[in-house]
Amino acid sequence: MSGLAASVLFVADGLVQARGLRKRFGDFEAVRGVDVDVARGEVFGFLGPNGAGKSSTMRMIACVSPRSEGALQVLGMDPDVDGPRIRARIGVVPQLDNLDTELTVRQNLQIYGRYFGLSRAHVRAKATELLEFAQLTERADDPVEPLSGGMKRRLTIARALVNEPELLLLDEPTTGLDPQARHLLWERLYRLKREGVTQIITTHYMDEAEQLCDRLVVMDGGVIVAEGSPAELIERYSTREVLELRFDPALRPAPDALARLAERVEELPDRLLLYTADGEHTHAEVARAGFVPLSALVRRSSLEDVFLRLTGRTLVD
């Protein structure tokens, strides 16, 4: 009974604890042994490309997908045994909006609250409060369909808050939104964090992970390849700065030719990335060595660079 032994080792204050978590769909193994601890009050991220196993992991935590193997505790309970009890205390924002198109904006919040067994008076007051939070008060009695993508997302998040969850699960919260809508959404998520709501976010946007997450794991091919805060990960797996060089394809030097000028060189289809502590200095060195790029850009390292280092691939194709 190794599963039982593992669950005994769990400490009580973590909201989510997973050990050796696996998910199989027939012959395909989407999650291949994941260990995760999420503490109360933190914003925890799963960063990885599409198909990394982030959503499958989230669905297991949300108690809507039975695990194939491993130990999992959410709010100190086992999803296989206490699914409904756990779901009563968490909020879920799915990857694709699944709002009730036969109901109005306000009714979406009220009826969803009723699924949690909340009283009619309670959900009525709560809906008004959440409409304010989602900045949808003016649209309260409109149907859902004509809302913009950002509004639907905000409504979906407001809906997930109707039961005042201790843990909020957000699966790719800003995918498909324009920059303005994303920033508004991030601001709302910050506010929830300040109010002490623990959040787990999956994303394939490195800027989102950097903006929102206290701590994150990088997932690839169903396993965790690195774990830490965004700053820690960048420090551990990348250099302070990156020099991006674009060349005329005919005159593009082999990466090896530039290797001595930087700590590390990555080759992408359209550019070369030179990892270095001082980008401007390296830029000068490149010019002195006689290379003539079409353009050069110095920037800070990001989680994208961490991901590239760890997997040899970019996050968003």
Partner: protein, 276 residues
């Protein structure tokens, strides 16, 4: 404001046989949802009421003037309208329930992803199956009540037994809704709904709705006696004309089997489809 999210109660003994977490005892929340949603779609609701009334007027009064009288369930002659009215009553209970549990459920399952949203709450697949079937049943029951009032208006309810036609219609609606929802869980696209029409329309026409079983040769009678709507029509016709006999328990048993099989299959399928 603090939430008072009540923990879902432990399921009743019978339902403990189902996988843990499949029933939170809150199917009523789904009824509330359907009632709220139908406030905006009341026209579809009303049209379902008029359909059998049109049939009754066209066939019962129009065609009935040519047909005259027919032998009733107990052999006593009854008017053609009195003969077909219970058939139409059974058919309207069937139609309301089937429409709700197939087209509406399929849309929510495939496009609205509505059940997915519900399963993120304490609700489980059994709550959803019972809630949706329950709504189809209420709708079928309301159609039946409306049609029974019309029958009363035309003087077609000649026996006090007719009072039992309403609960009987609810049983019929429940059975068709349960089986309809179970069938819907196997459908892949809208094309598959042609099969629903293919099942419902001939059943409506040939299950002794418009003429007695005796017009068929024996082998065809056996086929018709196998159809669920035939049992519904027999049940209704016996009750509205007062020709009540013990054999009706058999008709009820037919529907109880449909209910048990339908609810079980529908819940299991929702589990398989959504909780992967």
């Amino acid at each position: 404001m603090t939430a008072q999210v009540p923990a879902p109660p432990a399921p009743p003994a019978l339902l403990r046989l189902l996988p843990a977490g499949s029933y939170a005892g809150r199917s009523r929340a789904l009824l509330l949802r359907s009632a709220t949603a139908s406030r905006r779609a009341w026209l579809a609701f009303v049209s379902g009421f008029f359909e059998p009334v049109f049939y009754l007027v066209a066939m019962g009064q129009g065609l009935g003037s040519l047909v005259g009288v027919l032998p009733g369930p107990d052999g006593a002659p009854i008017s053609y309208a009195a003969f077909i009215a219970p058939g139409l009553l059974a058919a309207s209970a069937m139609n309301g329930a089937v429409f709700d549990s197939t087209f509406n459920v399929f849309f929510k399952l495939k496009y609205g992803r509505l059940y997915e949203a519900m399963l993120s709450t304490p609700l489980g697949p059994v709550d959803i199956a019972l809630g949706e079937i329950g709504w189809a049943l209420i709708r079928g029951g309301l159609y039946a009540l409306g049609f029974l009032s019309v029958m009363a208006g035309f003087g077609l309810l000649v026996s006090p037994w007719a009072l039992l036609a309403l609960p009987a219609a609810l049983v019929v609606a429940f059975a068709f809704a349960a089986v309809g929802m179970a069938a819907t869980s196997y459908m892949r696209s809208w094309q598959d709904f042609d099969l629903v029409t293919l099942a419902i329309l001939p059943m409506f026409l040939f299950s002794t709705t418009f003429y007695p079983l005796s017009v068929y040769p024996r082998w065809l009678q056996l086929v018709v006696e196998f159809l669920p709507l035939f049992h519904a029509v027999e049940l209704m016709r016996g009750l509205t004309t007062g020709a009540v006999h013990l054999g009706m328990v058999g008709h009820l048993a037919y529907f109880l089997v449909m209910i048990v099989v339908g609810v079980t299959v529908a819940s299991r399928r929702l589990d398989v489809l959504l909780l992967r």
